[in-house]
């Protein structure tokens, strides 16, 4: 039993690490502002699939790590991810029964919330301005969900992550 428990965490952490690397990897300027929110997508997947393993605590810790890596004010991404995961975890049973397309739309709505929270906090703390560019990742993230959901489901089934 302990081995199963440990291995589940191992596989979840591995996917989260991959998401972190994808979100800080250097990209060409032309496509940089379209980078999907990999970390948010992966966290949301695990929250929908295994809410007893991944929820607000994980989201906060991982968000804090992202804050360190991105050089943003500590706690900003942590709070934004926690809120989004909170909303998802409260509705995980409904979300499971939706089709991938419906999920993608809802994930888009959640990510708008995610980016708005990040903007509000930064506006309050650092007095930054809003630009349309900040919402581009929502579109790409929603599209990538259609691909990421089956991939992560295959990953979870293959390694029997429970």
């Amino acid at each position: 039993m302990t081995r199963v428990f440990r291995s589940a965490w191992w596989y979840i952490s591995l996917s989260i690490l991959a998401a972190i690397i994808l979100s800080i990897m250097p990209l060409p300027l032309a496509i940089k502002s379209f980078r999907p929110d990999w970390l948010a997508l992966v966290l949301l997947y695990w929250t929908i699939a295994l809410p007893h393993r991944v929820n607000i605590g994980t989201a906060w810790v991982v968000g804090f790590l992202l804050d360190i890596l991105l050089g943003t004010v500590l706690g900003v991404h942590a709070l934004a991810l926690s809120v989004v995961v909170f909303v998802t975890a409260s509705n995980f049973q409904k979300l499971r029964n939706f089709s991938v397309w419906q999920q993608a739309i809802l994930i888009g709505v959640f990510l708008v919330l995610y980016h708005i929270i990040i903007f509000w906090l930064n506006r309050f703390l650092l007095d930054v301005h809003l630009s349309a560019e900040q919402m581009y990742p929502v579109i790409t993230s929603s599209l990538f969900w259609l691909w990421l959901f089956p991939v992560l489901r295959g990953y979870r089934r293959k390694f029997r992550v429970r």
Partner: protein, 280 residues
């Protein structure tokens, strides 16, 4: 079937804890001085992830150099030779001008400008967040990097160091929305403050009255005021001036001269200690 949320606190309670911890982190990070040490520690802890993330790009780069054809290498070599010739010729003049300048400065009894120590650093990670324009470089405390150190590339000013880890440190770019740099116009020495806009190709020259003599194409260089950046390094070029008299100040947009959007290597600058003392 696992009992869902069977153990542990309820979802709302967890959310409350996350909120409290976030607020503590944000306040501590923006309102206290101790956050510098904490950041320095954290940036050291996460540096392996940063190196890992830069791995794919550096592997592709090394592959590309291996695959480069002999012809293109020869061509590049020739181009570089020509460039070196031109630059050497300029350097000869520079030597002469520098001695002349030193002589004149000693006649005027002002401080001599001394050469500063420089070191090349490699960029290992780029944060592309619109609210945080910064890059991580592969030099840290072990290389004497310090907070507030000026960072340049071969064309102009890139930014300054904001936090230092053991082997990595973070550079805030001049285009970050929270960064401002004191500058003067090369043509007529008008002083101003150039702030970042959150866009990599745009910076704003704030608080200039409408009758100020600036033109499109004017070069902006560091003024040496503020004590962070040494005097006389190129920063930006004015690209657009909108004469909207209904606004209290002139709207001046400039484009950074350093290629902040395609950085690969940067220069770290150490001002000479006796130079710094004489400035005080």
């Amino acid at each position: 079937m696992n009992p869902i949320f069977g153990a542990g606190p309820s979802l709302s309670l967890r959310m409350l804890f996350a909120l409290i911890f976030s607020v503590i982190a944000m306040v501590a990070d923006t309102r206290t001085e101790g956050s510098k040490q904490i950041r320095s520690f954290l940036i050291t802890v996460v540096s392996p992830i940063q190196y890992l993330a830069s791995l794919p790009e550096s592997t592709i780069d090394s592959f590309a150099t291996h695959l480069a054809s002999k012809n293109s290498l020869l061509e590049e070599n020739q181009k570089l030779r020509k460039l070196q010739l031109l630059q050497n010729q300029k350097l000869q003049q520079y030597e002469m001008l520098k001695t002349e300048n030193d002589k004149l400065r000693s006649l005027l009894k002002t401080n001599l400008r001394s050469d500063s120590r420089k070191q090349v650093a490699e960029i290992i990670s780029v944060a592309s967040h619109p609210f945080a324009h910064n890059v991580v470089i592969d030099k840290g405390l072990t290389d004497d990097v310090f907070i507030g150190q000026p960072v340049l590339d071969d064309l102009g000013v890139v930014g300054q160091i904001t936090s230092v880890g053991n082997t990595t440190s973070r550079v805030i770019l001049i285009t970050d929305q929270t960064h401002a740099i004191p500058i003067r116009v090369l043509r007529n020495d008008i002083r101003g403050i150039l702030t970042g806009s959150g866009n990599l190709t745009k910076m704003e020259l704030s608080n200039l009255s409408h009758n100020t003599d600036v033109k499109v194409g004017d070069k902006l260089i560091t003024s040496g005021l503020g004590g962070v950046f040494p005097d006389g390094y190129p920063v930006a070029e004015i690209t657009q001036i909108s004469p909207d008299v209904t606004k209290p100040f002139m709207q001046v947009v400039a484009r950074p001269i350093a290629q902040v959007d395609r950085l690969k290597h940067v220069l770290l600058l150490w001002q000479d200690t006796n130079d710094r003392e004489s400035n005080q």
